[in-house]
């Protein structure tokens, strides 16, 4: 086994330049690659016991809330009496809010399908496996792409007047730019933002938009899907 070969040890996640990757040795690496995995415990009893305790705490919490909070029950279903607004279950209200702005095929079919597809391909699409921060390298090249994508998105949303999507998009875009302009900032928050890779920014933007839409659809929409203040 002493024959010479042309293999080289190196660190790269650039699939275009080095398409044949055999082993990753990275900072946030997966379990199988690691030599050192730390101390181990037997699943029985250590896992089983913890799970049992978690189950008991959860059950107690559920019972207490179920005793205090009654599930709603309205009148018998009547196809002739449409409530205004008719709302879907809360986890689909983000979708319903999108339908308010965009054509049905886009908001009701295309966007949900793309979201599901995007979620499925996440592990296969992540070429930045080391979690390299967004502004770590190629800063000059990345800035116009980042600004261009965010600005394009903002223009698109403004054309459709989709304000409840636009606001979190603007906020996240601005937040994403702050580490570029303060690379040497000493504040903990800025250092945290500066160490985030691109997938983190995309997912955080998605969650911010989804939460905003769901909250708006649940609390701030009244008759005819008009804006209402929940406390009035």
């Amino acid at each position: 086994m002493s024959e010479n070969n042309s293999y080289e040890a190196g660190l790269s996640s650039d699939a275009l330049r080095q398409p044949q990757r055999i082993v990753f040795i990275t900072r946030k690496t997966s379990a199988k690659v690691k030599g050192e995995v730390g101390p181990q415990l037997m699943s029985f009893p250590h896992v089983i016991l913890r799970e049992a305790i978690a189950f008991q705490i959860l059950t107690i919490a559920l019972v207490v809330v179920a005793l205090l909070w009654d599930a709603p029950l309205e009148q018998l279903a009547n196809p002739l009496l449409t409530p205004n607004p008719a709302k879907a279950p809360w986890y689909f209200l983000g979708l319903q809010e999108l339908l308010h702005y965009f054509p049905p095929v886009l908001a009701g079919v295309l966007i949900p399908t793309l979201v599901i597809l995007a979620l499925v391909v996440i592990p296969y699409f992540d070429v930045n496996i080391e979690g390299e921060p967004l502004w770590a390298h190629h800063r000059r090249q990345r800035l116009p792409i980042f600004v261009g994508v965010v600005a394009g998105l903002i223009v698109f949303l403004a054309i459709y007047q989709a304000w409840t999507v636009l606001v979190p998009t603007v906020l996240l875009g601005a937040l994403g730019l702050t580490p570029y302009f303060n690379p040497t900032s000493t504040s903990r928050f800025q250092r945290f933002l500066g160490s985030r890779p691109l997938p983190w920014w995309v997912m955080t933007w998605f969650i911010a938009v989804a939460l905003t839409l769901t909250a708006v659809g649940t609390f701030f929409r009244g008759p005819g899907w008009s804006w209402v203040w929940p406390w009035r």
């Binding site: 379990a31 959860l58 909070w69 986890y91 997912m203």
Partner: protein
């Protein structure tokens, strides 16, 4: 203290009996060998790893969100079966059964509250679990396919919750399902046929209630059980949960 010793002794005697040994086929789980046997000698537990990294057990590593999602599924199965004893998937009996749960059935309100609460909590827990796994990098190799199974479980959870939403047959249920199924009809070409298949007709009526009932009580729970089993088993096959070096 004397009673504790007495109990221990009786328990030891019980463990020595032929019947006990025929069931468990191992000694008390005091050595690593018998502890391993306790896991892979058990039909329910054998999908789990025999050993886990100590780090992956810390609360901050997972917040037990996956376990909590599963426990909520268990609670939903139990309360769901109990609710099925009091429920007819028919118009308008379904709504009368809801009223019976409130006014006639012992602890009926509590039972329904528990089911509904656990259902909402499961949607939240599954979403939170997914986002947490994403931020921990838990989807990275070799866990790619388990992430995909997880996305499947998210969809099953949403459909389970959604099909259950119609079953009380009140105004809230009827119109929420109307809004949702109208979205389906926007799918180009296939939209209307899919909606027809889902509802068993063009309107939400008796057929739709029956289909949602069968989906909610049979098809989707079975799909969930298969996917959950695969999801747990893959944790073991993929070499345990992802752990990070930093802080913890």
């Amino acid at each position: 203290m004397a009673t504790t010793a007495w109990t221990h002794e009786r328990l030891e005697q019980l463990r020595q009996t032929r019947v006990w040994r025929s069931i468990f086929r191992r000694g008390p789980a005091r050595t690593n060998r018998t502890r391993s046997l306790a896991v892979f000698g058990n039909l329910a537990l054998h999908v789990l790893p025999v050993k886990v990294r100590e780090k992956s057990l810390s609360v901050r590593a997972t917040y037990y969100l996956g376990s909590i999602s599963f426990f909520l599924f268990v609670v939903l199965t139990i309360t769901g079966i109990l609710l099925m004893f009091y429920y007819h998937p028919a118009v308008p009996e379904a709504y009368r059964d809801m009223k019976d749960l409130v006014f006639v059935v012992s602890n009926g309100v509590f039972l329904r509250n528990l089911h509904r609460l656990a259902a909402h909590a499961m949607v939240v827990a599954v979403f939170w679990h997914m986002f947490h796994v994403f931020y921990r990098g838990g989807y990275k190799p070799p866990h790619e396919f388990n992430w995909v199974i997880g996305v499947g479980l998210l969809l099953v959870t949403l459909f389970l919750s959604y099909t259950g939403y119609l079953l009380p047959w009140d105004q809230l249920a009827f119109w929420a399902i109307t809004v949702g199924t109208n979205i389906v009809s926007y799918v180009p070409v296939l939209g209307r046929p899919i909606r027809f298949m889902l509802l068993g007709g063009h309107i939400i009526g008796q057929n739709a209630l029956l289909r949602f009932y069968v989906l909610h009580c049979v098809i989707l729970p079975l799909a969930a059980v298969v996917l959950i089993a695969g999801h747990f088993w893959r944790i073991q096959k993929d070499g345990g949960l992802t752990v990070r070096d930093d802080h913890e």
